[in-house]
């Protein structure tokens, strides 16, 4: 399939090459093991393949069949139809890295606009063309901070309320480097100011999530000041939708901003492909990993774009490069570019407020159920922690009987939080769904 050669084509081509049969092209391979008999099925037609894939896909339950309050790093947001319509243009999706800018201005301008939009959203000077996801973006932030001080500062401070997957990824990435990573064992109840006492002149980086993994919003001013007093870098991981409402991390003088871009028009797709946002201040642009598009002109003075500052990258610098990253998330970055272009200033503000109001309504309804509490003081965005009278795992099991995905059981990552459920509410959750959740919690708590 997808091969057009006729027998006559093959014969003519082999004759030009000067061999008799296809197998002769592989004469320099070891004879032993050549052309193995693979234990795999025969091929099938497109009709049969689609049938098979459809059958497999129906063994999954989607938010169309379930009422979902599950977030914890991946969110169910509405994706405007125009986003996928642009992604399906094969000029975009069947092109590769824009190595030849004269015939790749579509991709290059899209990357340039992506960088512009992410810089505007985060308030930072410059954004790269993206990383694989939020987890790898924070790992690259740690890597960048380590190299910024040429390995002289060896302490990395991570807030315990950074997504557990992200912190695990940092540990995996930095395993080969002699670093001291601290802060994660503080109580999850603690706030950003509790990290201040850990900062000293050996600190390369202080990293927090904003809103944090538990959905909480904090003022980061004091932590940022304390970090900069020790000439350390301050890194903030954001949820991009929240920035339609709350102060951007630039207002806390962040040096590095990372984010999970999935909420920006990217399907949940069982965890990927997603989008790693990465932005920084102008003075660190040469320390930043990843691809960058820059504006220039062609020989006739026409404005256009090229990949620039390649000398930081692996194909030039090899083992001296800022990172091994080669690609960016191309098409996924394009999805977020189209999404942010459609929503624009007013749409993102409207969406962020809608999420805020719905989440607060849900928190109020759930708090009214006897035995369930939500911290009434701490501001949050669209996700919050519910303290349950029984283990969160059991709450989720009861809810699933009513086709509700209750939320994320925090006991899976935090041994002290077995009774805490992380609940996310987006514009996709209607009032009646929220009322249904509260009603079921109430009913189940009587049993």
């Amino acid at each position: 399939m997808y091969i057009s050669h006729t027998q006559a084509d093959r014969e003519a081509m082999l004759k030009i090459i000067g061999v008799e049969k296809l197998e002769d092209l592989f004469q320099c391979l070891p004879d032993e093991g050549k052309f193995p008999e693979l234990s795999l099925p025969d091929g099938i037609t497109e009709m049969e393949a689609l049938d098979e894939l459809q059958y497999i896909s129906t063994a999954n339950e989607t938010p169309q069949e379930l009422v979902s309050f599950l977030g914890a790093g991946a969110y169910n947001h509405y994706i405007p139809a125009a986003v996928d319509s642009i992604l399906m243009r094969s000029e975009f999706y069947t092109a590769y890295t824009p190595y030849q800018p004269e015939i790749a201005q579509g991709t290059l301008q899209a990357i340039f606009e992506y960088q512009s939009l992410i810089a505007a959203l985060t308030g930072m000077d410059v954004s790269n063309a993206s990383h694989y996801d939020g987890a790898t973006a924070v790992a690259e932030a740690v890597n960048m901070a380590y190299h910024n001080f040429r390995g002289r500062k060896k302490k990395i401070i991570l807030s315990p309320s950074i997504h557990p997957h992200y912190r695990e990824t940092i540990h995996t990435y930095m395993d080969g480097v002699n670093l001291e990573i601290i802060g994660e064992d503080l109580s999850p109840e603690s706030g950003p100011d509790d990290l201040i006492k850990l900062i000293d002149d050996q600190t390369a980086l202080v990293m927090v999530q904003y809103p944090d993994f538990f959905g909480r919003i904090y003022d980061l001013t004091k932590l940022s000041t304390a970090t900069h007093e020790q000439k350390s870098l301050f890194s903030v991981h954001i949820n991009p939708i929240s920035l339609g409402l709350i102060k951007p991390p630039s207002e806390f003088d962040a040096d590095i901003v990372t984010g999970e871009g999935q909420p920006l028009g990217i399907p949940m797709s069982f965890g990927g492909p997603y989008l790693g946002l990465f932005a920084t201040k102008k003075q660190y642009v040469r320390k930043m990993a990843g691809r960058l598009a820059g504006e220039t002109v062609d020989t006739e003075g026409k404005r256009g774009y090229v990949l620039t500052l390649n000398t930081r990258e692996q194909h030039i610098r090899r083992e001296q490069a800022t990172s091994n990253i080669c690609t960016n998330q191309g098409l996924i970055a394009l999805a977020s570019t189209v999404y942010l272009s459609l929503l624009g200033k007013n749409g993102l503000q409207e969406l962020a407020r809608l999420n805020y109001h719905k989440a607060h309504y849900a928190a109020e309804k759930i708090s009214a159920v006897p035995g369930f509490t939500v911290n009434p003081v701490q501001p949050f965005f669209n996700e919050f922690v519910v303290h349950c009278p029984v283990p969160a795992k059991e709450v989720n099991q009861s809810l699933l009987k009513y086709d509700i995905l209750g939320g994320y059981d925090l006991g899976q990552d935090y041994p002290d939080l077995t009774h805490e459920l992380l609940v996310a509410v987006t514009e996709m959750n209607t009032r009646s769904e929220i009322d249904f959740l509260a009603a079921v919690l109430e009913e189940e708590s009587h049993d």
């Binding site: 997808y2 050669h5 084509d9 081509m13 592989f26 032993e32 093991g33 052309f35 693979l38 795999l40 099925p41 091929g43 689609l50 098979e52 894939l53 896909s57 063994a59 999954n60 938010p63 169309q64 991946a74 405007p80 996928d84 000029e91 975009f92 092109a95 590769y96 890295t97 800018p101 004269e102 015939i103 201005q105 899209a110 606009e113 960088q115 810089a119 410059v126 694989y132 996801d133 997504h163 997957h165 990824t169 990435y173 395993d175 409402l245 797709s269 069982f270 965890g271 492909p273 002109v297 194909h315 490069a321 990253i325 080669c326 690609t327 394009l334 570019t337 459609l342 624009g344 995905l405």
Partner: protein, 490 residues
Amino acid sequence: MINPTIFELSRPNRKGIRYPKPDVPLAEIPKDFLRDELPLPEVPENEVVRHFTNISQLNHAVDIGFYPLGSCTMKYNPKINEQAARLPGFSQIHPLQPVETVQGALGLMYETQQWLAEISGFKAVSLQPAAGAHGELTGVLIIRAYHRTRGDDKRIKMLVPDSAHGTNPASSAMSGMEIIELPSDERGNIDLDALKAECDDTLAGLMITNPNTLGLFDENITKACQLVHDHGGLVYGDGANMNALLGVYQPADMGIDVMHFNLHKTFSTPHGGGGPGSGPVGVTKELADYLPTPLVDMISEGDDENPAVYDLVEPKSSIGRTKSFHGHFGMIVRAFTYMLSLGKNGLRDVATHAVLNANYIQAKVKDIYHIPYERLCMHEFVAEGVWKDAPGVRALDVSKRIIDFGFHPPTNYFPLIVHEALMIEPTETETKETLDRFVDALLQIADEAKNNPDLLLNAPATAPFNRLDEVKAAKDLILKTQLPDDYGKS
């Protein structure tokens, strides 16, 4: 101004989308946390769509024409794969749903692990890595963990041939390895004497691409792997060139211990203008316990009445997570659809015809373009884009002139060991007529290089843009749209 940016299309109070009015009471928003400006564009939907459609038309792409970009395997991307990945049962599921609600997704991942293992001869496969370079990092971390678990902490020397992709040394360096570059011999193989000289008790491993980046099957591969193993090291295989070996040879049989696949090259998932890729890693039995977490395992086999049951599991000595959740699932669905469509014979046809197409072009141009390592190539070959009797012309000029014939140029200036390299990879999905037209263009350009070099030096003449000033871009460093100070404040 030919192509405005999306910011330049903005006018205050235009909107590209409306949301429903809140169906809940409004909550109080603490003023201290509120953002006071948001400098995003304001553009209606039709203008957004028109803008991105217009700029898309400035691209060359596989669906437009031939794209023989060496090392990148720009094959046709079947449309059925796109449709499969967009089925709601795949695209709309949350990665943290209870496993009993995502048995289809887990089963598909399990099957993909099994297919890749069978194709490559490895014992276990992780689908987590997000791209080729990410797979390399994963693989080198596995090698490091293996040595460390055995108390062999001093093994930090990674040997990388001079023909390797730049990601190889960069990935090794990120994993805390010391890099030693190995030369190639006169046939383009690993230089065995140089390899032998580096084999000592600090050897962590060898990173090798086979077929290598010259498009040649390394004739010393078995001996090289044996040598590394005899000295306690492991061999990492860069699977970038797996398109030549599908159904033809299993990399594990060469002596490779750990290898990444590029689903976006070999298994036809689209390149997306630079990503997303997907870089699953396969390993031998000895390394299976070190794979990143999580893997998908089959907990119970199905029978006539019950379906099989799958779960996410953590390997015993796992190097940990290399990203959030479970890998680029959307790309895995596409690759699985492709493998299922092709089956075992179809997979072998891919390799044989990819190699046929490359050798056909090589045979037809080799008298005009110097081939530094001339022998039967695999799925690609490297030629030189310079001639003694065309002194002003470089490979870059040849490439730019190729654009005028409606083709994407080959990869330029890689591998680094070839002077003025043109790396040509046609893939299996191109017809003989396309290859003939490409050969005719190459021969005509070689003639022009000598007789009318200005055609090359001023190329491309037919592209939407002339050559762009890269020096200016790096000097001015304009990395975002320049906005007036009051943008977004109204």
